[in-house]
Symmetry: C2
Subunit: 231 residues, 2 copies
């Protein structure tokens, strides 16, 4: 089950710091009704955060862990729409339809912060800087996963790995893949076998080291060249 609580959370780098009651001074807090603006949810691996058709009311900021969003196609296939990691926000895509049209599921033990949209809107109206920030985040989201348009499996996989290594803010490009080969393939429109084959080829070419979910990118420039279709 989802565990609510606020202990041991580091809010220092949160996008929503200016929305957040913990960041506001006493005067501001007195002007507002006595509710908690944010709420933490602790999810175990594989736990579901939201389901399709659920009304959109909240953003979810990932504090720790990883989330995947997915749709079930009419033909029954699972289609992964995105991965979300620490300091990223889930929910912008649900504003327009007014409901989530995807499921969101934790890939590993994860802590998210639930931010009421209405509260966010009110906060935005009082804070021009937050307004500007919100447009920036959403603009960033529009550009997310643009490498999915690349034509070959090799290109998309190389671009995906480079993207991960950036977003996970790794040291030495060393990180754990929180998702399975099947999930990577599903996201990149490839089969798990094809993902596995190209990971092996990259390993053989000494562009990376990999052992199950432990991976380290070694030759960033070459991987980038592959993503760019130059190799």
């Amino acid at each position: 089950m989802i565990n609510h609580g606020q202990n041991h959370i580091n809010c220092q780098r949160c996008h929503f710091d200016t929305v957040c009651s913990t960041q506001e001074n006493a005067t501001e807090r007195l002007l507002k009704p006595p509710f908690t603006i944010k709420r933490f949810l602790k999810l175990k691996a594989k736990e579901v955060l939201c389901v399709p058709e659920r009304k959109f009311n909240h953003f979810y900021l990932i504090h720790q862990g990883a989330i995947k969003t997915l749709q079930i196609e009419a033909n029954g296939k699972e289609l992964i729409r995105g991965f979300y990691f620490a300091n990223e926000v889930l929910g912008y895509e649900a504003i327009y339809p007014g409901h989530y049209h995807f499921s969101a599921q934790a890939l590993e033990d994860t802590v998210v912060c639930e931010i009421p949209y209405e509260q966010f809107l009110k906060s935005v109206n009082r804070k021009p800087l937050l307004q500007k920030q919100a447009l920036l985040w959403m603009s960033k989201q529009i550009n997310a996963g643009s490498y999915l348009a690349l034509s070959s499996a090799k290109q998309r996989l190389a671009a995906f790995l480079l993207d991960l290594s950036q977003r996970l803010e790794t040291v030495d490009q060393r990180f754990s893949l929180p998702m399975s080969r099947q999930e990577i393939g599903n996201y990149l429109r490839l089969t798990a076998e094809t993902v596995s084959r190209f990971v092996s080829k990259f390993k053989q070419a000494q562009l990376l080291q990999v052992q199950k979910d432990k991976i380290q990118l070694l030759e960033l420039e070459q991987l980038q060249a592959i993503a760019d279709g130059l190799i």
Copy 2:
């Protein structure tokens, strides 16, 4: 060359009506410096609206016509990122990087309205409703072209045609394709030949009528079923 002017433009359905000087009353106008908030640009077919690396300062609302955005990949291939039609806005994706990372080119004779971003931000701060609208539009943009993730050529093409027929607000699903087969393919990650082949197959199956760029969708449900991977 780009022709500036404001004659014969219908602003009734514009997203930005509340930003627009022509919509504001005299009192509001007196409070502001004497500049034109919006400016119309008339583009001939194939004319370029913006180029990569140009600093982002403006949204472009398409009043009439059609625009494509494209990038040149490192390997020299043209990659079409999106099509924009009447009443759609180009530019949200450039907020975050701070510059356009694509070219935008008119597919046919086109009229766009240039809206300064800074002006837009100021307007947003005074108008909570516009604020809410802006988030809606950007959210919509995040979801745009989601059918590009579909796995087969047939699915993507069917979804594309259905998308066009909606966005062009056609009568009887009858419309003109403003882009070439090559451009469709380029957007859908297919070759022009593959596009042509499947258009022919759809025609043969009497799902649509087509003659060069004139097209009429006949069997929407069947096309949708194809897009859904059910056929």
